[in-house]
């Protein structure tokens, strides 16, 4: 049921990254910050250099996580994702089946809760 939220947030992400004209990409650009605060949750965005988008949906009732924490979460996500990409048997676009990736994500989520 979060898919709808994520898809709508994609539009916001596109909007944000289209505005960026800089050629070089640094961490700041990758992290898009709070995309879309709704009454129930907050959506944070992050785009990689290869235009792969990470979207984190956080429950608003949760004592709001600091921006740093979100950034670190995205950083970990990005690292795990690159590890997955490095696997030559992984076709970009496939659902990620890497156990290591899943474990990192779950750990992160547990931490955030």
């Amino acid at each position: 049921m979060f898919h709808y939220t994520v898809h709508t947030s994609l539009d916001v992400v596109e909007e944000k990254i289209s505005g960026v004209g800089k050629a070089l990409a640094d961490q700041r650009e990758l992290y898009l910050g709070l995309l879309y605060p709704t009454e129930d949750y907050k959506v944070y965005g992050y785009v990689t250099n290869s235009k792969v988008k990470f979207v984190i949906v956080v429950d608003s009732s949760n004592t709001s996580l600091r921006d740093n924490e979100i950034r670190s979460m995205f950083r970990k996500l990005h690292n795990s994702f690159t590890d997955v990409m490095c696997n030559p048997f992984y076709n970009p676009g496939d659902p990620i089946q890497s156990k290591a990736f899943d474990s990192i994500v779950s750990t992160m989520m547990v931490q955030a809760c």
Binding site: M85, N87, F89, Q97, S98, K99
Partner: protein
């Protein structure tokens, strides 16, 4: 089961005293203890009791059974001939040793042992019991058999070698992995790129998710490439997986890149394990060759054998049911058709292309390396071959001139460059290669004669078969016919003006009439080639223009018909 296990050690220990190598026995016991977790072991142990009782009749039964599983399981065809002769020498010492242990022991039994352990061999469940039983006793024989060990046995050793741990790489395995690594990347300290490794490991026919998992485990530095230790780890995991071991969630300590293998040399080599077989398709032949060369029980015959193995492995790539008996015969035939890592092509085409790497491989290692190198770079080879006898020039010239003459209006210019190397290499083959090559050439002869017929028919049919002209030429080359330039010059105007049927008989007549001539000089050959190319170009241009005109006519007609269809009244169209 526990009782059986207990029974086994008891038996072994009683015999262990006689064994010169009791250590291995202990290892085997330990390994046997592990096997309760595996269905195979259960089965085997349940049978052990039976095997103990009926051990006497087993050895003879096992021997034929051994052959059978070998043929059915051994995808590594190349290995079968070396393996069987390899088995016989150790069999005698093993037999000698087996005397104190009773008639049960057999050199073949050791092979059977690991056959049993290999999963996916439902056809030989019976052997599971006897092999496992025998394996325990055959431990002392393992070192002897190990020498003979082909690459196939490496994985089998896997099962028994684990002193502690199935995730430990033995010396032979490491050596094998080294060879495989070298076949992909000559520099052992360099990296294998992800795509290269992916293609290589995909040949093991493991499912992609598992391969993906293996990669995750082995690529410790997560750089998308494999260092040599990482490669060994990945290979080892694949081998283990092939043998039925479930993939671990995390990398075992013994497989970490920093781990140095103490190297327990044990494990009687038994049936070829699947991964080795699978990999034999392309890379393994090279490694196998190396392995065989290093073990070298067969002596000088090995390189030739291994070379043949390569050939056969190549051809066998689509299949996975090697038959050892026909292998030797096929080896000679396959010897030529090897080494293209790509998908199987026509045998004839392959023979031509694949002989290229053959001709230059002096050692088995070079073969492996050249296999990788040569397919992408055929063009430079002609220069190498030019240094050879003038007969090569003859072949080249004949090929080119024959091409111009025979194909008449359809000599494909692009086909020219690859052809000289092929023909030159063919001329190489008789001179440089071993007798096996000559056996190979005979199929070439047969094929090329067939191609010749094809070519003639194709000429009549106005088909463009690039391969046929060169092949027929090379056939003629093999037969020792020298190109006849004056005849060919005569043929050129005729071929260009005459219809295909007339050109074909002429070319055939020329070929049949051609006699031995003194080799022409290179310059003349080149000039001839240039002239022929020009004539070919002219012919093709004319053909092209004719076809264009025809195309215009047809197009006009089509437009007319379309307009007529659309409108009832006639409309003039352009």
């Amino acid at each position: 089961m526990a009782a059986v296990q207990a029974g086994l050690p008891v038996r072994l220990e009683s015999i262990a005293g006689e064994l010169p190598l009791p250590v291995f026995v202990g290892i085997t016991n330990e390994l046997e203890m592990r096997y309760p977790n595996q269905p195979l072991t259960n089965e085997s142990q349940s049978h052990i009791l039976g095997s103990v009782a009926g051990s006497a009749p087993r050895p003879p039964a096992d021997r034929p059974v051994l052959r059978h599983p070998d043929t059915s399981m051994d995808k590594l065809e190349a290995w079968s001939p070396p393996q069987s002769p390899g088995i016989s020498p150790p069999r005698s010492p093993s037999a000698y040793r087996s005397y104190p242990y009773g008639a049960q022991r057999n050199g073949t039994d050791t092979l059977l042992v690991h056959d049993a352990k290999v999963p996916g061999r439902p056809s030989v469940p019976q052997e599971n019991s006897s092999p496992s039983h025998y394996s325990v006793k055959l431990q002392p024989e393992q070192p002897v058999i190990t020498r003979v060990a082909s690459v196939e046995r490496l994985v089998e050793r896997l099962e028994v070698d684990y002193s502690d741990d199935p995730w430990r790489i033995t010396e032979e395995q490491r050596e094998y992995y080294t060879n495989q690594f070298r076949s992909l990347q000559p520099d052992l300290s360099a990296l294998i790129m992800g795509t290269v490794a992916k293609n290589f490991f995909t040949k093991s026919k493991l499912p992609i998710p598992e391969l993906s998992h293996i990669w995750e485990l082995s690529d410790v530095d997560k750089d998308g490439a494999l260092t040599f230790p990482e490669f060994c780890t990945a290979f080892h995991l694949i081998v283990a997986r092939k043998n039925g071991y479930p993939l671990p969630e995390t990398l075992p300590a013994t497989l970490r890149p920093g781990f140095v293998e103490a190297g327990v040399v044990t494990a009687p080599p038994s049936e070829a394990t699947l991964p080795l077989i699978v990999f034999d398709e392309n890379m393994m032949p090279g490694a196998n060759q190396l392995k065989m060369g290093s073990v070298d029980l067969q002596g000088t015959s090995r390189p030739g054998v291994t070379a043949k193995q390569e050939a056969r492995d190549e051809s066998r790539k689509p299949e996975f049911s090697p038959k050892r008996i026909p292998e030797p015969h096929e080896k000679t035939i396959q010897h030529v058709s090897t080494l293209k890592p790509d998908s199987p092509q026509e045998l004839d085409a392959n023979m031509k292309s694949r002989t290229r790497p053959r001709s230059y491989s002096s050692t088995s290692i070079d073969d492996a390396m050249k296999k990788v190198e040569e397919p992408p770079t055929p063009p430079p080879r002609p220069q190498k071959t030019h240094s050879r006898a003038s007969s090569l020039d003859l072949n080249k010239l004949f090929q080119q001139s024959g091409q111009g003459a025979k194909s008449g209006w359809l000599p494909p210019p692009p086909a020219l460059p690859p052809r000289p190397p092929a023909t030159q290499i063919f001329s190489f083959l008789p001179g440089s290669e071993k007798s096996s090559q000559k056996a190979v050439q005979q199929p070439n002869f047969a094929d090329f004669s067939k191609f010749r017929e094809e070519q003639e028919s194709s000429l009549r049919g106005l088909s463009t078969e690039d391969l046929t002209p060169p092949k027929s030429e090379s056939t003629v080359v093999h037969q020792g016919h020298a190109p006849q330039k004056p005849v060919r010059r005569k043929l050129h105007p005729e071929s260009q003006s005459a219809t295909p049927p007339s050109a074909t008989p002429y070319s055939a007549a020329t070929l049949t009439k051609s006699t031995q001539r003194p080799p022409p000089k290179q310059k003349r050959e080149i000039q001839m080639a240039i002239r022929k190319n020009r004539e070919t170009n002219a012919v093709l241009t004319r053909l092209n223009s004719e076809l264009q005109q025809q195309l215009k006519v047809v197009h006009r007609e089509r437009v007319t018909l379309e307009s007529q269809l659309e409108l009832p009244r006639p409309v003039t169209s352009t």
